[in-house]
Amino acid sequence: MEVLSTPGLATVQDFGRFGSLRFGVGTAGAMDHLALAAGNLLLGNEDGAAAIEVPLFPFKARFDADNSFALTGGGCGARLGGRALLPWSVHAARAGEELLLSPAPGVPGSRAYLALPGGVDVPEVLGSRSTQLRGVFGGQCGRALQAGDKLAARGASPGLAGYGLEPPGVALPLLADGTPGVRVIPAAEYERFTEASRAAFWAGEWKITAQSDRYGYRLAGAALAFEAPVEMLSHGIVPGVIQVPPNGQPIIQMRDAQPSGGYPKFGTVIEADLWRLAQAPAGSRIRFVETDWNRALAAAEALRGWLEEVGRLCDLIRCSALGRRP
C-alpha cells in the first residue's frame, strides 16, 4: 500500500512498547486500543498487530495488490475506488484501487484505524512496532507517514470482506447527563485541591481544546485550585493521568505521554475508558465520573467480554463462507 497524501500525524501503532519505561521510553501505542483490537479481530490477526492510526483527513492511499483490510475507529467517511465504505468493517481492495478517508463532521469519533492482514510490516524496535515520535524510532522510520511511503502487510490476504461490527461507542455507551463521560480514580494529590475545585471537577463539563494530541489533551473549564502550592518530585506516570499545572487547567496524559512527570495529579482516567477519550474530538466536551478500583476492574472486564464475543463471532464468520468474497 502506498500513501498518496496525508495532512500529517498518521502513524503506525500497535498496543505500545512495554518494558522500557526505565530507559525513559514511553509506551506510545494506539490512542484507541479498542479500535485497534477490533480491526485485528475482524481480520483474524494476532492480538496487537500494528495498524495505521489516522487522526487527520483527507488521507489517501493506493493498494498495489488485491488485499483485505479493516477500517475501524471514526471521524471520517471512506471510499474505495469510488464505492462508499461502511465503517468498522472488513473490505476487499483490488490492485490499483484508491482508498480515501475524508473529513465527515457528522460521523462520531476522531481517529480511524486501518488494519492490514497480519499487521503492518515495520521493524520491531524494543519489542514494539509503535512509532516513538519523541525518540524518533519505531513505526515508519520513527515519524508520521508521508506521501510516497510504502507499507506492506505481514500476512497474506485472507480474501475476506463484507462484515463489520457495531461500533463500541454504540454497544458500550457512557454518558453523564447527556455528555460523553470517562471514569476517573482519584490520584495522590486529590485531597490537596480545594473542596470547591474537587466538586467542580466532577460537576462541570470540560472542553477538549485544540491543543490536544497524542501527548496529551489540554482541557478548558473552571480552573482547579490547590489548598497550598504543591511542588513535587518526578515520578512515573501513565496514559490517563490528569495533571494539573499551576494555571489550574488539567492535562490528560495520552499514549505519547512522557513516562514520568512532576505536576500534581488530580486523578487517572481508567485504562478501560481511554478509547472513549481517544475518539472525543477537539472542541467537544466531556464529563468525569468518579470510580474506584473494583468498578474500574469490572469496566476492564466488560471490555474484555465485548472483545471476546467479537473475536468468537469473527472466527465463526471466517469459518462460514459468508465473509468470503467469491
Partner: protein, 136 residues
C-alpha cells in the same frame, strides 16, 4: 478439516457467545448446533452462506439476524427507496450480536421498495428490498 473437527471448532466458538443456535451450510454439508441449555433466550442468529438463487432484483437476508436499514455510526439510511448505489455498496445490514453483516448490492442500481422493517428479525432468505439494476 473433517466434519467432526469442524463441529468441535464451532462448538468451542459458540461457547461464550450470545448465540444459541448455529446453522452452517457449505456446499458439502449442513451443520446445526444448538445449546443444551434450553432456558437460553431464542437464538439471535445462525449463520449460513448465501448459496441459493433468488429472483433478479430481489435482495434477501444472507443470514438470520436483525435487519438494520442504517449503520449506527453513519448519517442517512442504507436501505431507502430511490437511493442510488454502486455495485458492492451496502444496501442494509443484518446484525448478529455485535457483528453487522453487510448486504451488498449485487450490481449498481436504485433501491426500490424496502420490504422488511428496521429492527425486524429475519431468517435466511427473507426478502429485504428490491433493487432496480442499472444496465452497464
Amino acid at each position: 478439516m473433517t466434519a467432526a473437527e469442524r463441529v468441535r471448532v464451532l462448538s468451542e466458538t459458540l461457547e461464550g457467545t450470545s448465540i444459541g443456535l448455529l446453522e452452517l451450510t457449505t456446499p458439502e454439508e449442513t451443520i446445526r448446533l444448538r445449546r443444551g441449555d434450553t432456558s437460553h433466550p431464542p437464538p439471535l442468529a445462525a449463520i449460513e452462506p448465501s448459496m441459493r438463487a433468488h429472483p433478479p432484483g430481489l435482495v434477501t437476508a444472507p443470514c438470520p439476524g436483525v435487519f438494520r436499514t442504517a449503520h449506527p455510526a453513519q448519517d442517512g439510511p442504507l436501505a431507502q427507496a430511490e437511493r442510488h448505489v454502486a455495485a458492492g455498496e451496502a444496501v442494509g445490514l443484518v446484525q448478529v450480536g455485535p457483528l453487522l453483516v453487510h448486504i451488498a448490492a449485487p450490481a449498481s442500481g436504485v433501491v426500490g421498495e424496502v420490504l422488511a422493517e428496521n429492527g425486524a428479525t429475519v431468517g435466511y432468505g427473507t426478502p429485504l428490498l428490491r433493487l432496480q439494476e442499472e444496465r452497464a
